[in-house]
């Protein structure tokens, strides 16, 4: 494992390309601060956070409760605005955008995967997958076709017309993942995506993440489980609103984590037999 090069970058060089790759990173965060006023007391949820996430990265964000993890997630998801600092998605600084512009950014550049799936109950699988494009006004047969293809690619070919109530947790999460891919986002933002799932299903979802990452998807995953974080390429830890560590997981250690998880699942399967 080696330290990741983040500290050297300054806000002024925001348009600077990512070291060596020649491409603009998917996410660049510079001196991001967020504070809330709660009963005349100011809470500094994020004190000064800066990092980059290049395209194709697979990042796990970890930290104990109160570390600013959720605040960072909300900022990354463009659901909230920072008190100060910059947050670049591609070339655009999200920190200065209006509510409507943020909504537009969410619908075009971010793919959300939530812990509790957050599907719309009255919609079918295919309709749920189409929701992000709905607010861009894109509702043609091509989009419908793409939604069906995405559903098939996450293994829901048999359940296109099912409603969330008729699906298991793992299946619902796969619908959510397909939905997050619908708008071809800059990155997928997964918030404890496996938190409600048993270990067998967790393994299914993590394998899906691995596959998507191998296909070139950028994934940011907030988690508090070490086994889950071990599957990412990189782990960012927060403590007291600051970055406490930012390291890469070696390919060997990721392989090891995969193997361990796999064995665990196998052992479970045998115990059931």
């Amino acid at each position: 494992m080696e330290p990741y090069s983040v500290k050297t970058l300054e806000p002024a060089v925001a348009t600077e390309t990512f070291a060596g790759s020649g491409k603009v990173p998917a996410v660049r965060i510079r001196n991001l601060k967020k504070s809330y006023v709660l009963k005349s007391e100011t809470v500094h949820a994020l004190r000064d956070v800066s990092f980059d996430i290049p395209e194709g990265d697979f990042v796990a964000i970890m930290g104990p409760s109160g570390s600013g993890k959720s605040t960072l997630l909300n900022l990354l998801g463009c659901l909230d605005k920072p008190t100060s600092g910059n947050f670049f998605l591609g070339d655009d600084d999200v920190a200065t955008m209006s509510d409507d512009e943020l909504a537009d950014i969410r619908s075009r550049r971010i793919g959300f995967v939530f812990q509790s799936y957050n599907l719309i109950q009255q919609y079918t699988v295919v309709e749920n997958i189409q929701v992000p494009l709905y607010y861009q006004g894109r509702l043609g047969p091509a989009e419908q076709q793409r939604a069906i293809e995405l559903a098939c690619s996450v293994g829901l070919a048999e359940r296109l017309d099912h409603r969330p109530m008729q699906l298991s947790g793992g299946q619902q999460q796969r619908v959510a993942i397909a939905r997050s891919l619908m708008n071809d986002p800059y990155f997928m933002l997964a918030d404890e995506a496996t938190g409600n799932l048993d270990s067998v299903t967790t393994e299914e979802i993590l394998s899906l993440f691995d596959r998507l990452n191998n296909e070139g998807r950028t994934i940011i995953m907030v988690t508090h489980e070490d086994e889950v974080a071990a599957r990412a390429k990189r782990v960012i830890r927060l403590a007291d609103g600051m970055l406490s560590s930012d390291r890469l997981n070696s390919e060997a250690s990721r392989e090891e984590a995969r193997r361990r998880q796999h064995e665990h699942v196998l052992a479970l399967a045998q115990r059931k037999d």
């Binding site: 909300n74 998801g77 659901l79 909230d80 509510d99 409507d100 909504a103 537009d104 969410r106 619908s107 075009r108 959300f112 939530f114 957050n118 599907l119 719309i120 109950q121 009255q122 929701v131 992000p132 709905y134 607010y135 861009q136 006004g137 509702l139 939905r179 708008n183």
Partner: protein, 440 residues
């Protein structure tokens, strides 16, 4: 495209809770229905009243004898009312009248063989038939010559003819009036005519079905002005020359000035007894119109109240729906819905609810008139006495839909619905997506 989809989704999420949506619609439905049906019924009822008043004639003036207050009556006989001299005075002095019809009415028994009926003996002139719009079924009505000669002839109303001569042709036969020991030869039978309205204090409703008409000079000669009524233990004597004078003018515009002239001529002569009144049907007609406007106003008011109640229902449901769907709103916001998208979504649902409620209200509103008739029929079937005691305007009303009320009702319904739906929609859109997502 987006709008179309929004509509589809709106309908879909409403259908997800059919009972709730139905009940919400019911408020608007009842409001619209009430506006349409209430105005239709009051329109129908006032049409009846208006027709009855119109049958009195808009270009007539009625001068009528009325019984004076008891303390003004002196002597054994009650001697009051219009005089023949009043009639002569009017004819001589009022140039605008085209005809003057004196009427004297007395209650009498009529017999033909063993059949006896009670009825009204009406002394009048030939104008009577025209002014009261009486048609002749058989034979003829009175003629001027009958009056001049004071012939003992009579014309029977349909009801009298059917009861006194059920199996024979009355023309040429005689009827007998036992109280005066007189015979009258039948020269004509009238067609049936509905009773006229009772309007104002001084004009009773007129039921023409029991009438027998004779020339007024015949009545004066053979019966005289004194009417003696004998009842158990007492005898009443009444002296009256004329019950009523009906005056006609050529044009409706002349009704008021002529009426004023007649009043200034006749009323001073009866100032002491206060036994004469001048009735102008035109004024009654206008009163009836005002009454109708009031009817309509009250109907619309009631309906508006129910519309507002319906609107509150919509607001209630939409607020509940916003709360229930907070999480859905959060999901949509996270996935890129702008505030206006959320407002639009909830507005569309409100619009669908209020418009479908209004549409159903209109459909049911058109079923209002048949429903009204069925209701009357039910009353008639189960309680004929009650039916009979209903005012004529209610019994005979033909509810007719006032088309202007339909856009009015729909407009109010949709406006109320929109306003009630807008507030919850804006509240929903204002929610912070993070909080909305956290909502359980």
């Amino acid at each position: 495209m987006l709008w179309l989809r929004t509509w589809q989704l709106g309908v879909k999420s409403l259908l997800l809770h059919p009972l709730r949506s139905g009940l919400t619609m019911l408020g608007i439905l009842i409001g619209v229905w009430a506006v349409i049906v209430l105005t239709a019924i009051s329109q129908g009822a006032s049409d009846v009243v208006q027709k009855q008043i119109e049958s009195l004639g808009a270009n007539t003036i009625i001068v009528r004898s009325i019984k004076p207050p008891a303390e003004k009556m002196t002597g054994r006989a009650a001697d009051y009312g219009l005089r023949r001299s009043d009639l002569d005075l009017i004819i001589a002095n009022v140039p605008t009248i085209t005809s003057a019809l004196p009427i004297r009415e007395i209650r009498r028994q009529f017999t033909n063989g063993d059949k006896t009926i009670d009825g009204r003996l009406v002394g009048c002139t030939p104008d009577y038939a025209e002014i009261n719009k009486l048609g002749v079924r058989n034979g003829r009505f009175l003629a001027d010559a009958d009056n001049l000669r004071a012939d003992t002839i009579c014309v029977l109303a349909a009801g009298v003819a059917d009861r006194l001569f059920p199996y024979e042709e009355p023309l040429g036969k005689r009827i007998y009036v036992p109280e005066n020991n007189d015979y009258y030869r039948v020269v004509g039978v009238l067609r049936h005519r509905n009773a006229s309205a009772a309007i104002g204090g001084s004009l009773d409703s007129q039921d023409f079905s029991g009438d027998i008409y004779i020339p007024i000079r015949t009545m004066q000669r053979r019966i005289g002005d004194t009417v003696v009524t004998r009842r158990a233990g007492q005898m009443e004597m009444e002296i009256m020359e004329l019950n009523q004078i009906t005056l006609q003018v050529s044009d409706v515009d002349q009704v008021r000035p002529t009426a004023a002239m007649v009043e200034s001529l006749v009323l001073p002569r009866h100032a002491a007894m206060q036994d004469v009144a001048v009735v102008v049907p035109l004024e009654l007609l206008e009163q009836a119109r005002n009454l109708r406007m009031m009817f309509l106003g009250i109907g619309v008011l009631i309906a508006c109240i129910s519309l507002v109640v319906g609107g509150i229902g919509i607001m209630n449901i939409m607020l509940a729906s916003v709360t229930e769907r907070t999480r859905e709103i959060g999901i949509r916001r996270a996935l890129g819905a702008k505030r206006k998208d959320i407002v639009r979504q909830f507005l569309v649902e409100t619009i669908v609810l209020s418009f479908s409620g209004a549409a159903l209200g209109i459909v049911l509103g058109f079923l209002g008139p048949p429903m009204y008739h069925s209701l009357l029929y039910l009353v008639f079937k189960f309680s004929p006495e009650k039916f009979a005691s209903l005012p004529e305007a209610i019994r005979q009303a033909e509810p007719s839909i006032v088309y202007a009320t339909i856009p009015l009702a729909v407009g109010i319904a949709v406006a109320v619905g929109l306003v009630s739906g807008l507030y919850p929609a804006i509240r929903a859109a204002k929610m912070n997506p993070i909080d909305a997502l956290r909502h359980e």
